[in-house]
Subunit: 207 residues, 3 copies
Amino acid sequence: MGTAALFYWIMLAGVALYAMTGVLDAGRKGMDIVGACAIGMATAAGGGTIRDLLMDRPVFWITDQSYLLVSLGTAILAFFLHRVIQLPPRLFLILDALGLALFTVSGTQLALAAGTPWLVAGFMGLITGVAGGVLRDILCNDIPLIFLPGQLYAIAAAAGAAAVVVMHAAEFSHQLAATIGFLVAAGLRLAAITFKLHGPEWQPRGD
Amino acid sequence: MGTAALFYWIMLAGVALYAMTGVLDAGRKGMDIVGACAIGMATAAGGGTIRDLLMDRPVFWITDQSYLLVSLGTAILAFFLHRVIQLPPRLFLILDALGLALFTVSGTQLALAAGTPWLVAGFMGLITGVAGGVLRDILCNDIPLIFLPGQLYAIAAAAGAAAVVVMHAAEFSHQLAATIGFLVAAGLRLAAITFKLHGPEWQPRGD
Amino acid sequence: MGTAALFYWIMLAGVALYAMTGVLDAGRKGMDIVGACAIGMATAAGGGTIRDLLMDRPVFWITDQSYLLVSLGTAILAFFLHRVIQLPPRLFLILDALGLALFTVSGTQLALAAGTPWLVAGFMGLITGVAGGVLRDILCNDIPLIFLPGQLYAIAAAAGAAAVVVMHAAEFSHQLAATIGFLVAAGLRLAAITFKLHGPEWQPRGD
């Protein structure tokens, strides 16, 4: 199996994982199967969809419906089997960190390949990684979790995206830039979970 | 009047009906005329707009502003006259079921005509039928109603879309596929209201 | 400095101002720096982004990343320095009225130049002026402020957009149409603040 094929399967695995997190949130909100599928699919495909709309590219799951099939199938399975199949929370967080890093790096490289300016490219990577979760929270009528104080998430993704952008500017190979970007994002996210690293918080006016 | 013209007028009627439901929700939230028009128009045009953005087609109400005129005009009328003109709730539900079926079938056929894969086509039909209501609920700061347990709504639309997709694959005529799809979606929705049919609900973990 | 350059700098100032309002709202919600930047950027760029997506134009901040740099930079500064630097509330409202008028007029003219029908053009101007604030409120999990009873905001913008559309139809020069549209929108908004002008409110059914 070549690198491209491996990458394709890893992306599908990431989509399935994100869909699963969406379904669990839908369940917590007491939604039925329609809500579970909608939230699951929005979480899985939302980031890439918003990126593609902004960049005026064909939306990735319209061209290749495997992504839709996988996210819908995962959502239905997770809806019916969530009491039987359970991932340990620790494993869940680790897989989510890998998915975050993967989506962010791939989105950044895709934007760089399309010739967008550097800040736009990093921002597209960040959107690919985190906008699905934001869409999930909006559909669940919550304040997006990543906007609230907590262990580094979007900042870890942004650091990974920045690493890719810098290495691209320094003309390193795509593979090396992707690898380093992935390690930075995933590593920082896992470190944030382990060592409880937080970003700067709001300092209310002391009156 | 030819079939195309008849279809056009039916679509405008559907847009007006959806706009009306949006205004009533805006009123329930205590919004002013700006909110009423915004929610009315989002409900009426939201589904088709999201479909067109995803499929990279010209947004339907930009090409032909009749849809915008009808939804805005209906919203303003409904805002000022809602105490005078009232539809009986039963009639309202029936008209809404017809609108749902009409929008879903037309969206599915439009996507099939554009050559999208089958699951994408059905999903586009579903979005055309229900995404306006989801957008309405988000703008009203509610959890989308169709995601919560209740009488079949999105599932009825999905069944109609599936009927269209299957009949398209079996090479039936467009007219027949549209008719059957419409009857499936509208029939299932009306049956759901009459017989209180529900979709699968979330089974919380029994700890 | 030519008119085009002046206009460009005024637009960047408007973007910075809108970003600042977003950050203050994010702070009120207890968000961290990620939330502040996201809400700031969504407020600043949301309206123009939605306009560009609907009209199938290249999104303005992808072509020229200055807008992204300015909104992100302003958001970060406002996040850390909001206790030090404060705009008097009155000045804030005046600047916001000028930004509203500027964005609305520029959006309307942009749509007219692209040949959209008149109601669509006015609506695009309105979206450019107010949709960023609507997006901000959705991301903050609030009902959009401009949908609730209060001093004229969207109606002031709509009046300015209407003035531009009418003057365009009457074949006045672009400069004159823009000036009058700007004065109508800003003037009406400032009058609404000063004299507490409200739009029509919902009349609940008296049962």
